[in-house]
Symmetry: C2
Subunit: 307 residues, 2 copies
Amino acid sequence: MIQGFDDVIAKVKSCGIKKIAVAAAQDSAVLEAVREAKAQGIADAVLVGDEAKIREIAAGIDMDLAGYRIIDEPDMVQAALKAVKLAHDGEVDMYMKGLVDTKNFLKSVLDKEVGLRTGGPLSHVAVFEVPGIDRLLFLTDVAFMTYPTLEDKVNIIRNTVPVCNACGIENPKVAPLAAVEVVNPKMEATVEAAELTKMCEEGQITGCIVDGPLSLDLAIDPEAAKHKGATDRKIQGDADILLFPDIHAGNLVYKCLVHTVPGIKNGCILTGTKVPVILTSRSDTFETKVNSIALAAVVAEELSKEV
Amino acid sequence: MIQGFDDVIAKVKSCGIKKIAVAAAQDSAVLEAVREAKAQGIADAVLVGDEAKIREIAAGIDMDLAGYRIIDEPDMVQAALKAVKLAHDGEVDMYMKGLVDTKNFLKSVLDKEVGLRTGGPLSHVAVFEVPGIDRLLFLTDVAFMTYPTLEDKVNIIRNTVPVCNACGIENPKVAPLAAVEVVNPKMEATVEAAELTKMCEEGQITGCIVDGPLSLDLAIDPEAAKHKGATDRKIQGDADILLFPDIHAGNLVYKCLVHTVPGIKNGCILTGTKVPVILTSRSDTFETKVNSIALAAVVAEELSKEV
């Protein structure tokens, strides 16, 4: 049973080491995370980028580059395209952003020839280990899709279920969140939440249990669900996937968790791609970057099983 | 300097005891909170409602009713109207919901003859004491106004500034929140946040400092603000008022704090009214109810000074 990132890392190790391609690897924070992932037996890396700069930075952080494949490509856009092609061709299992800016990184992910498209839209999932909660929480979308339509929400769920599966959750519970737990025609988020619930009951969304609209207390706190008498709900404080109405709600809750809950851990990936994509931000801690690599590695294993 | 609810309660005591009118007081959770507020010297209460039931419930919780004024009115709607009139006439300093349902309670608040209208719209403020943050945070609107327009947001700020003043914050910093800290024309919340900032700079919003759009980390975490290099911002992790784009974002963050942060404390009131209105929900803890009364009491003192 996976309850936290230590369990995720243990699972990665049992699967055998995975490999990352890094786009423009001349970035000290990224190299430090990659080194830690290798040291912990989570993942190996192919460093694509400006080799001279990579070697200079590595020397500065006392990182031994023996054992890393380095592909020299000083141009960052070209480095991204070469790195993503390795993932596209199946030579590596994950794709990670280095110094290249987010816009060009995403362009490489979406590139029609060498990119990682699968047909559906991409989405972001932030996985949290919250002290006091005995399972991982999968928050989506807190960083990528701004104002998802109903169809987008269906795709977000489809993208996120395999991430839960990878973390040992067979039939995840999906909570489309809102301020309230009853449908209010004046609140689009509650109407769409009810529609998603119905689509799941009718078999249009599979591999999960959807129950919404839900307020956050009913979604994550069994005591609160009991107190409110929510005994007829499919989710009673035991949701796995927290589906947000829009990016403001998602991002504000995400940052609330990161910046107010002591001892919280998280890792994030982009999903809906051929292989998991690691897009950490400069404000992420070292631990979050390593957790993101571990998360991507278990998801890579899961996706390789599905093919 | 007020850093938490203990300081709020200390301030109430220094102001002299305030008085609440309770609408349909035949509710054990409400009576328990009222008793505790009286025991702590925070507030006295006039209990309006079904006297026989009030006495029965009081006996059941071993509460001594000597010293309480009781106005017998078995009909809940009438009880609310009689209780709110006491506040309207200046006989009491605060108005609190008892067993009457929220709809009829709000009707009494908005009643044109005996209610508490001041001309502007009502809004809700949730005040939080978060471990690790050395000041109170004022979240609005997380429970009442669903999709505030720009004009509504101006009114929300106007309603909330006196609550900060009451808690010893002279010139509160207001953070109109969004997923990002830069204006994006495709995100209405960021555009309106910038407009609010400008309106404050131009003197259309007074008594506070507005700086938005802000992400939650820049609003509440000085370390994050420093790390992101936000040295040109008026708010650098030191916001007092967190202004949410809509009720979903607000309510989800509110519940996130309540249900994931150990040791957190909060209290809530309705503002924009002649006297503060206490509208606790059945899911609020006993402590939250008492904190809400204490918060209302300091705000009542502040509003009485303004008259």
